[in-house]
């Protein structure tokens, strides 16, 4: 087996965190509570930062250390804080989220997407012997696809937003393996963008919530002049 080739300790730990990142992606699909979704996103971002530091150590790259620091500042600290400031009620009041599929069905979809990503990446895999790419690329792609799926399947504003952010996390995880020396400015811009997205979506969702009384996207199908009583 090619996996049994000797790998260093940071690489082994990166593999471990890759498994946990995939698991937290599944957990985000499986949770009903808005707060839980945010919590799993924070865990995933922490694992991502850990991966950055580990790969930075393995590849002797200062960029990756900086990326890890940016990830922690932007995704572990700033985003939950912004969400709490703009959407506190939404975060703590909402319990059961309306979903397009029930939980086992959406988990099966997530599983299917993970398989698809593994199959898609397969041909590239045979071209590279690099163990880091072999781990990060398929799992990063799975993260992107599962995040995209929760964007479609969820019907609440905050979980949809977290879906977008999870997609970004997945792309990031694949990215640190393929292009470890990406200019720092690009990553800084992405981190800034992500925070801006959260601020904008948070404010828009808060406005919608104030006028209509819900942020359930599935219910926002008709245009009405005046605030309607919900259900």
């Amino acid at each position: 087996m090619s996996m049994s080739a000797q790998i260093s300790a940071p690489e082994a730990l990166n593999t471990l965190s890759a498994g946990l990142i995939l698991l937290s992606a599944f957990a985000m699909v499986a949770t009903r509570q808005v707060q839980g979704v945010v919590r799993y996103f924070v865990i995933q971002s922490l694992l991502l930062a850990a991966s950055c530091f580990l790969l930075g150590f393995a590849l002797h790259s200062v960029h990756l250390y900086a990326l890890g620091a940016i990830t922690i500042i932007a995704k572990v600290v700033a985003i939950p804080w912004v969400l709490k400031r703009t959407l506190a009620r939404e975060l703590y009041v909402r319990r059961e989220i309306e979903q397009a599929f029930n939980i086992p069905a959406s988990l099966l979809w997530a599983l299917l997407l993970a398989i698809v990503s593994v199959l898609l990446v397969g041909p590239i895999m045979s071209a590279t012997p690099d163990p880091i790419i072999r781990i990060n690329l398929p799992i990063g792609l799975a993260g992107v696809l599962i995040g995209g799926f929760s964007l479609v399947a969820r019907r609440e504003a905050v979980p949809q937003l977290i879906g977008i952010l999870a997609m970004e996390n997945g792309a990031f995880f694949a990215g640190i393996a393929i292009a470890a020396d990406l200019p720092l400015i690009a990553e800084l811009m992405v981190a800034f963008n992500v925070i801006l997205i959260v601020v904008i979506v948070g404010l828009v969702a808060r406005n919608i919530e104030e006028t209509i009384g819900t942020t359930e996207a599935g219910a926002l199908q008709e245009l009405k002049e005046e605030p309607v009583s919900w259900r």
């Binding site: 996996m3 593999t15 895999m125 781990i135 799992i139």
Partner: protein
């Protein structure tokens, strides 16, 4: 040869002797977390002693199934014990008699007869608990299967001793995503099969909400003691498989000298104690799931195990 047979029986003795203590420690710690004092950790031994000295009443309506069930429930975990590494690192004499799948079937055999015996009595609560256990069982079965398939794929074998050596030999395999997912799936499986908290409340006394306990309601005296002891041993054996074969294959006796076996006993007890702390944190932080949420719980375990299988096949190619 004689020595390995002796060690094999030492493993059986270990499981026999420590299963009540294991449950006692868990329940005592749980009570302490809930700011109660709780019974002594040796209470399960006293309970067994008391039950063995009580009169036994068997309904005249029951058949032979009801009479042999306690013995089957008691003996099946012991059969599994001789197949798995409990104390030693190297295969013992019966190790190649059956693989992990055989162990699963042994445990399922005990569960099957326990369910039959519950129906046999005609007590209204027995069949209800039995049908619920079957529901949990058939949801857990595919997870069991896929966990074993994945393990056999990674280790090229389903013999527990060889699987364990595989994790020690290859750190890359140990840290692979497949292994992490496998561990999560198997932990969820232990919680479901052992009737622990997110699935079933072992401390509950309300018959309508029981899943696992209600099957034993009709047993008395020696039969009740055997059922209870068997359940505790099953839980310990599942914990041993999880710890010694999958999660932490260290601390087992590597040599054939008797002192090494004796040192292995406290080392494994420490591992089991740490595992009890993990179970404790799960049991005290989660609430019991509603009955129809159990399918979601085991569905998640299934997804984790299938993902483990896919990634293991993929990363090996």
């Amino acid at each position: 040869m004689k020595q390995t047979i002796a060690y094999n029986f030492a493993q059986v003795l270990f499981v026999l002797a420590f299963a009540p203590l294991y449950s006692g420690v868990l329940s005592r710690l749980k009570e302490m977390v809930q700011s109660k004092r709780g019974p002594s950790i040796f209470q399960p031994y006293r309970d067994l002693w008391k039950l063995f000295h009580k009169d036994q009443i068997i309904s005249s309506e029951t058949t032979w199934i009801f009479r042999i069930t306690p013995y089957l429930v008691f003996i099946t975990p012991l059969f599994v014990t001789i197949l798995i590494p409990v104390l030693t690192d190297y295969p013992l004499v019966f190790a190649f008699m059956g693989d992990m799948l055989a162990g699963g079937f042994f445990l399922a055999l005990g569960g099957f007869f326990a369910a039959l015996a519950a129906v046999d009595t005609g007590n209204p609560y027995g069949p209800m608990g039995a049908s619920r256990t079957r529901m949990v069982g058939f949801l857990a079965e595919p997870v069991f299967m896929i966990v074993f398939f994945t393990v056999s794929f990674v280790a090229q074998s389903t013999i527990p001793y060889i699987v364990q050596q595989r994790w020690i030999a290859s750190p890359a395999a140990f840290f692979s995503p497949a292994h992490v997912l496998l561990l999560i799936a198997f932990l969820m499986l232990i919680l479901a099969e052992g009737g622990r908290i997110p699935v079933d409340n072992p401390a509950g006394h309300f018959e309508l909400a029981m899943i696992d306990e209600s099957k034993g309601l009709e047993f008395s005296g020696r039969d009740a003691a055997l059922m209870k002891w068997g359940g505790q041993m099953k839980f310990l054996v599942l914990g041993c498989i999880f710890l010694n074969v999958l999660l932490a294959p260290w601390g087992l006796a590597q040599g054939r000298a008797i002192p090494q076996i004796l040192i292995a006993v406290p080392l494994i007890s420490i591992k089991l104690f740490l595992f009890v702390l993990v179970l404790l944190s799960i049991e005290t932080s989660l609430a019991k799931l509603r009955l129809f949420r159990i399918s979601e719980f085991l569905g998640a375990a299934f997804i984790a195990s299938v993902t483990a299988m896919i990634t293991s096949i993929f990363f090996a190619s």
